[in-house]
């Protein structure tokens, strides 16, 4: 198999691309997801807060 | 205490008898899955003989998953479960009764059916015997572990698939020791250790799962 031969000839590339690149990619995706979730949650909480403020203003008026 | 246990078991058995189709579908599913395997892997007897125990065990595991959803859901929907939680006896005892009844209507028929299916795979008599003993010890454990999952997924959408997802990994030890026993006897080794490990799992499950399931039911009823 060609992959087998390539693997034996370029072991370090195989290790880097196969394992470390994938692991780093997983980490990057996770970090991106966490940041994204933080953004969405913050936006949602702000919206809720504004909605609450409006209701209170109307109640006062 | 025992009176209550008997009451719950009798009640669930009567209910199951009046809804016989449910038991039959599980059993037919079991027979079908087992019969499909030779069609999938080919009819060489040597290979089938070697696979038999594994196939039967995996099929039993899958069919017991199929019937688990019904364990609490009917009682949950018509309010009987609420009344059971208000019973002045321990909920664990009630749960144990329901588990026992569930095993009698869904596990026991599989155990009785297994030797017939084993013959389809040309299993030797000795191996068949150990298979049945293993199933007798193992299927109650499947019902009991499954009950935890059934209680946790009570009333959820897509509960059936979720239930299998939660319970199947927890059932792996039963599968390993059950099939291991049959392989050991086929290889002419002692089966004592496998069967005693299965027995130990059964005892562990008997001690802990009713209580855990009762807690899960309380969580799900909130």
């Amino acid at each position: 198999m060609s992959l087998d031969i390539w693997m034996r000839e370029n072991p370090l590339t195989y290790v880097w691309l196969g394992s470390y690149a994938v692991a780093l990619l997983v980490f990057a995706v996770e970090v991106a997801m966490v940041i994204h979730k933080r953004k969405i949650t913050l936006r949602q909480v702000r919206l809720m807060r504004e909605a609450g403020d409006d209701a209170r203003d109307e109640g006062a008026a | 205490m025992l009176g209550l246990l008997a009451l719950v078991i009798r009640r669930d058995l009567v209910l199951a008898m009046r809804r016989r189709a449910d038991i039959l579908t599980t059993l037919i599913f079991f027979v079908m899955v087992v019969s499909l395997f030779p069609l999938g892997v080919g009819p060489e007897m040597e290979m089938l003989r070697r696979m038999a125990a594994g196939v039967l065990w995996v099929a039993a595991l899958l069919s017991s998953m199929l019937s688990l959803g019904r364990l609490f859901s009917a009682d949950y929907q018509d309010g009987t479960l609420e009344q059971m939680m208000l019973a002045p006896q321990s909920l664990s005892m009630l749960v144990l009764g329901k588990m026992t009844a569930h095993w009698m209507v869904s596990g026991l028929p599989l155990v009785l059916m297994a030797p017939v299916l084993g013959l389809q795979f040309d299993m030797p008599a000795q191996a068949l015997g150990i298979l049945i003993v293993g199933l007798l010890l193992g299927t109650p454990v499947l019902s009991m572990i499954g009950a935890i999952g059934a209680a946790l997924t009570l009333g959820l959408r897509g509960g059936g698939v979720l239930l299998s997802l939660l319970v199947l990994p927890l059932c792996i030890p039963v599968l390993i020791f059950g099939t291991g026993a049959v392989e050991a006897i086929t290889a002419g080794l002692s089966v004592a250790s496998h069967l005693s490990l299965l027995g130990a799992l059964l005892v562990l499950a008997l001690v802990f799962t009713p209580w855990v399931t009762a807690q899960a039911l309380r969580i799900s009823m909130e």
């Binding site: - | 209910l15 018509d78 309010g79 009987t80 009344q83 208000l86 002045p88 009823m221």
Partner: protein
């Protein structure tokens, strides 16, 4: 005696009620009132111990119902929205099993008598799936007749019942109060009990 102090309950984010307190003594009856969604059912379910309150305590004869657990359950009876009867079983079987679960051994004759008093004569042995909504409710309510619980918690006991059955329930409640029982209930229909002062609790 049932005592509730400083009780607070919420459903999800929504606070249903807080600072709720009352005491129910033998021979007393209390109606829980409030609009839809005001937490009537949640209050009754909290009294049953299904829901854990956010704050506050519920005591029975001076002890927390959490600690009493089974002792408390032996002295109370709950009837919810759901009838808790099985379609496949007959009225007779349903009643005997539900009595058995609440720790009362019931022989066939007692069960028959209770069902007859509920107006189910000649339907005792039919599977409940052939009965009407009102008749099924009657099967569920027959538990009131055979229970020796002191505290009755009834959630909408009168739904699907005709005038005759409502009168019968009023009679049963009056008998229960005369025996120094306690009743706490919700209803959207008027329920009048002779010879007892009706207390009411308003949830807003």
């Amino acid at each position: 005696m049932l005592e509730v102090s400083n009780l607070a309950c919420s459903r999800g984010d929504h606070r249903l009620f807080s600072g709720l307190g009352f005491a129910l003594h033998p021979g007393q009856i209390m109606q829980v009132q409030g609009a839809n969604g005001s937490g009537k059912t949640s209050l009754l379910r909290t009294l049953c111990g299904f829901l854990t309150p956010d704050e506050g305590e519920i005591t029975w004869c001076g002890k927390s119902i959490r600690e009493l657990d089974e002792e408390y359950y032996a002295e109370m009876l709950y009837l919810g929205h759901l009838n808790a009867i099985k379609d496949e079983l007959s009225a007779l079987e349903n009643l005997r099993i539900s009595a058995g679960l609440s720790g009362v051994e019931l022989d066939e004759k007692e069960a028959m008598n209770a069902l007859r008093r509920m107006g189910l004569r000649r339907r005792e042995r039919l599977p409940t799936k052939v009965l009407s909504q009102g008749q099924r409710r009657r099967v569920a309510l027959a538990r009131l007749l055979v229970s020796d619980a002191k505290l009755w918690i009834l959630d909408e006991p009168l739904t699907a019942l005709d005038v005759g059955a409502v009168a019968l329930i009023q009679e049963l409640v009056a008998e229960h109060l005369a025996r120094h029982g306690m009743v706490i209930f919700t209803t959207h229909q008027p329920l009048e009990v002779a010879g007892a002062e009706m207390r009411s609790l308003l949830l807003s």
